[in-house]
């Protein structure tokens, strides 16, 4: 698959690495080249300085042929705007997006974007961990 990721933070960089190892063609974008230090030295995809809310930068990243787009910057609104550009203008088949605010997430799901709220997921996970028996973490 051809995959474009916007935002090379910890999550973006890690996801790029995972997908790259599995043989996907990955392009990761960030407005700050310094963020690319987070990519593993083995990363074989493309790192591109550019704004994922900008049509031209997205085109350079090959969004036109992309099978999937992830928006993973720190800003909920930035993520959702980029996701909508990917979906509505470039017709990317799968668009996944991080939205910290759980209330906004519902709305964007209804607009056809797969939005995930780490806030909800992580809070739920911590609660479940507490309720379950303590276990030895392997890593």
């Amino acid at each position: 698959m051809k995959i474009v990721i916007m935002g090379c933070g910890r999550v973006g960089a890690r996801l790029a690495g995972l997908l790259d190892i599995e043989g996907h063609s990955v392009t990761i974008m960030d407005t700050d080249a310094y963020s690319f230090r987070r990519l593993s030295p083995e990363f074989g995809g493309t790192a591109l300085v550019g704004d994922g809310m900008d049509e031209e930068s997205l085109r350079k990243a090959g969004i036109g042929e992309a099978d999937a787009f992830f928006s993973l910057t720190q800003g909920d609104n930035r993520n959702v705007m980029a996701a909508q550009i990917a979906r509505n203008i470039f017709r990317v088949p799968r668009v996944l997006c991080r939205v910290y605010d759980p209330l906004r997430r519902e709305l964007f799901n209804s607009l056809g974007i797969e939005a995930f709220s780490p806030t909800t997921i992580f809070a739920q996970m911590l609660k479940e961990k507490l309720e379950a028996e303590p276990e030895e973490e392997s890593k």
């Binding site: 809310m53 900008d54 049509e55 031209e56 800003g75 909920d76 609104n77 930035r78 959702v80 705007m81 909508q84 550009i85 509505n88 203008i89 605010d101 209330l103 906004r104 709305l107 209804s110 607009l111």
Partner: protein, 220 residues
């Protein structure tokens, strides 16, 4: 009319002040506490501190009964999302977003914002009008028809000076409707009107034909 304004910066503040003056019911939503206090001191209790993209804040200010929703923060993405929340979650009939980056104008339309106002473009155009060599100025957009009204100036060295209107090949959907000569009174152009140096021309055209119209009227 009940109008919600997102963003209490310079644009938001003066907009709220103007709309209040016209007798509308206004609420401004602003993130910054100091700015919120300033607006309340100046305009009365019309400003609430909060995030205009958050459903909770918008519920609190009664967005459900707003007839108009205007987002004028300095960040395009915030304006877009605020308008989308207002539209899809609260069914506000009319949403207006300020755009700072002119590139986003087409994107906002595509994403369902009723009116997108590009502040940068407006400032640019006003300044361009003041540049003497600039030969095409936007005066007005006829949004739903995809047409625009523009002003052009015929430079003294244009190849079309002395030519009749009927000999000038205008691009599709373009019409000249007023000629303002440098010295004489404005007149309606006819086929036999002769173009003169420094004529000002008011024309209707499409954004795509702009360049072709300019070329046709200057002869180069």
């Amino acid at each position: 009319m009940y109008i919600i304004v997102i963003g209490g910066g310079k644009v938001g503040y003066y907009l709220a002040r103007t709309l209040l003056g016209e007798g509308h019911e206004i609420v401004v939503v602003e993130k910054d506490p100091a700015r919120t206090e300033f607006i309340c001191n100046e305009l009365g209790s019309v400003c609430i501190r909060g995030d205009g993209c958050e459903v909770a804040t918008l519920t609190e200010v009664g967005t459900g009964r707003a007839e108009m929703f205007i987002a004028v923060t300095g960040d395009d993405e915030d304006n877009l999302i605020a308008c989308q929340v207002a539209k899809h979650k609260f069914n506000v009939p009319r949403t207006v977003a300020r755009i700072n980056n002119p590139k986003n104008e087409a994107i906002f339309k595509e994403l369902g914002i009723d009116v997108a106002v590009s502040s940068t473009n407006i400032i640019l155009e006003s300044i361009q009008e003041e540049v003497p060599t600039h030969s095409l100025t936007h005066l007005l957009d006829i949004r739903d028809k995809g047409l625009e009204i523009v002003e052009l100036k015929i430079p003294a060295d244009a190849k079309t000076v002395g030519k009749k209107i009927k000999d000038i090949h205008l691009p599709p959907k373009s019409r000249l409707f007023l000629i303002i000569p440098k010295q004489e009174k404005p007149r309606l152009p006819t086929a036999s009107t002769v173009l003169q140096a420094e004529d000002q021309i008011i024309a209707v055209t499409t954004p795509e034909s702009e360049e072709a119209l300019r070329t046709a009227l200057r002869g180069s």
